[in-house]
């Protein structure tokens, strides 16, 4: 088994964790990534520490990525788009195309860790994403905090005073066919909201949600800290629309006054849309060759994978960083068991 060769498709956190585990078990690994750099979406996320670590796991992903780069036994193939998988007996050929031309990689097993696509907030036109400069997605805010270090209004570069977070944008929403929870958004939104509060004590957060989804042990503490903060307002209702008045600054929303029960017009400096995860469109097309079917949610159904093909991470459904790593490890165990049985 130790001379076996496994091809991991996708260089996000799940693929990286798989490659790392397999290499540590002494196997040869080829890690195929379509971008020029491995790291996936998590490479864009920010550390969400305030005056203490808030356990967002982004540093873990950064560390794993550096670890994989430094590991011999892992061949990185970047800038490569997979066009199909072919199975001949127990040999799997993964076909890719990249700038240098088409190539084929052969392995004894394949792990698909192709992840997700962040929900395109433009599909919810009522929120005016792309039209209003100060309407951001969660991913935009992650990048802003990672690259620039602090939150500011894109329209004028000033720190925002009143910030609204709208949860479940593209999740739990049957009108766009997404009848699932993306599992990561409550945690990242609450943590980033705390970062904004920490950076600017005068700022005020309005958190519009349906149900708060916990993320791991000690999440109660994060939640309590937010609830006890007088400038942090939880409103169990999702606003329907963002609009602007000509000549007036600020983003308007009709929001629920939880005391009186009335709808009131309120203006915000900045609105963050907590976008969730979508299945990759190319999944359906590319993986047909591997016999994979979509699940009810449109992600790939792990039960449908052919022998020797395994799924890891968010390709089979939304997962946060920690769950992606855990899922990758159990996938590696299954892969090793498969290779052991075969040898």
């Amino acid at each position: 088994m130790s001379d076996a060769h496994v091809i991991v498709v996708g260089g996000g956190i799940a693929g990286i964790a798989c490659a790392d585990e397999l290499a540590q078990a002494g196997l040869k690994v080829t890690l195929i990534e379509k971008e020029q750099e491995i790291g996936g979406w998590a490479a864009d996320y920010c550390c969400k520490a305030t005056d203490q670590c808030n356990r967002c796991f982004v540093c873990v992903s950064d560390k794993e990525r550096e670890g994989v780069r430094a590991t011999s036994g892992i061949t990185l193939v970047t800038g490569a788009q997979v066009s199909g998988i072919e199975k001949n007996d127990s040999d799997y050929a993964v076909k890719i195309s990249r700038a240098a031309g088409a190539e084929e990689f052969h392995g004894d097993a394949v792990i698909l860790a192709t992840g997700f696509t962040p929900f395109d907030a433009r599909k919810k036109g009522e929120y005016g994403y792309g039209r209003y400069a100060d309407v951001l997605t969660g991913l935009d805010l992650e990048r802003m905090l990672r690259e620039r270090g602090n939150a500011f209004k894109p329209s004028n570069g000033m720190p925002p005073k009143s910030v609204a977070f709208i949860q479940c944008v593209g999740s739990r929403d049957d009108s766009i066919g997404h009848l699932y929870c993306s599992k990561a958004c409550c945690a990242y939104a609450l943590r980033m909201a705390r970062v904004i509060r920490h950076q600017n004590p005068e700022s005020e957060i309005f958190f519009f949600y349906m149900d708060i989804q916990p993320a791991g042990r000690l999440f109660d503490e994060t939640l309590k800290a937010c609830e006890e903060d007088p400038n942090f307002h939880f409103i169990r209702a999702i606003p329907s629309k963002i609009y602007q008045y000509t000549g007036k600054p600020g983003l308007m929303m009709r929001v629920l006054n939880t005391e009186t029960g009335d709808l009131e017009e309120q203006f915000f400096d900045m609105v963050v849309l907590s976008i969730g995860m979508e299945p990759r469109e190319e999944n359906a097309v590319v993986w047909e060759s591997a016999g994979l079917r979509p699940s009810d949610e449109g992600f790939l159904d792990p039960g449908s994978a052919e022998e020797g093909i395994f799924l890891a991470g968010a390709v089979s459904g939304p997962k946060d960083i920690e769950r992606s790593i855990m899922d990758a490890r159990q996938t590696v165990l299954r892969t090793l068991q498969y290779l052991e049985d075969k040898s």
Partner: protein
């Protein structure tokens, strides 16, 4: 040593480490159903497993899940056949009616003291997996005779006996109350929804009361909708419901939080309930707390994970993994993922059958500077530092010592040091530095540890 930098870079003397042989063995201990998955996962990779559990029969290990298995095919699919697989696997040595009472050692050489039939047996293994069930405790606000906890309630059902169909007085009106004290556990939402939907098929009226319904589990949003369509009523509350005897059974009263106004709250009263099932607080098993303390594995509130970025899905101690409630209370299908992930982690330590140091540099104490203040001993997350008598005579005198000057100093166990540098940065006497292995002396440590 000159200079005060924490890391001495002497790459020239970085040795090529040879590997030493260790047996491919592991001890799996606990009473949580996932121990079966852990034992099976390791055994299928050729690891010899000693499975220590407190029950008379292996079948009893999955007993707590029997009620759920009836309502949830996935739980059934993932757990039902494991008993048989474990019983038939020759590389698993099953020790029933046994308790792991003490454990010590480091990766490569753990010594487990196992109590079976009043006799103590000693088992040595290079790796260790622990998965215990927590103790469910009904929160005080609900500790009346009318109320049952989830585990007590589900314990009434047993799929092998036909479950609901055989229960003489099926519950007609039942309320599940979630998020009573702990709001960061997902298992109660999943359990209440799946079991509630199952009860609904038998004509029960099912109410679920929660602060936030947890849908961040695979397929839950879809099932949440299907359950509501089937007539399972789900309410959100902000202040805890009050419980009274009322009508022909129990009465629950609460303010519906999804009513839009706090000034004009919507009071909801559920009457004639014949069962109220509340989310228990899961307290860590005493055995688990004791073993973690013996191994000096840091835990918060007695649970090891999740949510520790430093040790994603693992413990601070090399060669020890945990699952079940020792990790954190999870729904059985999630717990299975965690357990398999832990098995893979343990396989990494014991699978190759070789022992090798995998860090480049380790901490080293200069005993003549050490003040024996125990700072490093306390903060070392890897349990790698002990205070011993060695090296040059240490001039410091312990207050109150009767036998003259003592000469103890902190000493780092090279083979378990992760080179994290916490001790070096915290040492008030600046007696600790990170160094590359100075010479081949490290093999003495290695072999010494395996002996």
């Amino acid at each position: 040593m000159s200079g005060r930098q924490a890391v001495l870079r002497i790459p020239d003397v970085k040795p090529e480490l040879k590997e030493l042989e260790i047996p491919r063995e592991a001890v799996v201990s606990g009473d949580h159903p996932v121990i079966l998955a852990m034992a099976d996962g390791l055994a299928s990779m050729g690891i010899s497993v000693t499975l220590v559990h407190p029950f008379g029969e292996i079948e009893e290990i999955v007993a707590p899940l029997r009620g759920l298995m009836e309502a949830d095919d996935e739980v059934s699919r993932k757990y039902a056949f494991l008993t048989e697989k474990v019983s038939n696997n020759k590389s698993i040595k099953v020790m029933g009616l046994s308790t792991l009472v003490a454990v010590e050692g480091w990766w490569g050489n753990f010594t487990a003291e196992i109590l079976q039939d009043g006799k103590l047996a000693t088992v040595k293994a290079p790796g260790l997996a622990l998965a215990y069930r927590g103790n469910p405790k009904v929160p005080e606000a609900f500790s009346t005779d009318d109320v049952k906890g989830f585990s007590e309630f589900l314990g009434q059902f047993d799929f092998r006996k036909g479950g609901m169909k055989k229960v003489p007085n099926p519950v007609k009106r039942i309320a599940f109350v979630l998020d009573v004290e702990k709001r960061d556990e997902k298992w109660p939402s999943v359990t209440a929804l799946r079991f509630g939907t199952y009860l609904k098929e038998f004509g029960s009226q099912v109410y679920i009361l929660c602060r936030d319904f947890k849908v961040s589990v695979d397929d839950m949003e879809r099932e949440y909708r299907m359950a509501r369509e089937a007539g399972v009523m789900i309410f959100k509350y902000e202040d805890l419901p009050t419980i009274q005897k009322g009508g022909q059974g129990i009465r629950l009263t609460f303010r519906d939080a999804s009513a839009v106004s706090r000034e004009k709250p919507l009071e909801v009263t559920l009457e004639d309930l014949d069962a109220v099932v509340v989310q228990e607080n899961i307290l860590p098993a005493e055995e688990q707390v004791e073993l973690l303390a013996q191994l000096r594995i840091p835990s918060e509130g007695g649970f090891v994970g999740p949510n520790n970025p430093q040790f994603t899905g693992r413990t601070a101690k090399k060669g020890v993994v945990v699952g079940g409630d020792t990790w954190y209370p999870e729904y059985p299908t999630d717990a299975m993922t965690t357990a398999l992930s832990a098995s893979q982690e343990l396989f990494k330590w014991v699978g190759k059958g070789t022992y090798k140091i995998d860090v480049e540099r380790v901490a080293e104490v200069d005993p003549s500077k050490c003040a024996t203040c125990l700072t490093c001993y306390r903060i070392c997350p890897h349990d790698s530092i002990r205070v011993e008598r060695y090296g040059e005579r240490n001039v410091y005198i312990t207050a109150g010592a009767k036998e003259g000057p003592t000469w103890e100093a902190a000493r780092v166990k090279v083979e378990t040091c992760n080179g994290c540098g916490l001790c070096a940065s915290e040492c008030p006497a600046k007696a600790i530095q990170l160094v590359y292995y100075p010479d081949m002396e490290v093999y003495d440590f290695l072999e010494g540890n395996l002996r």
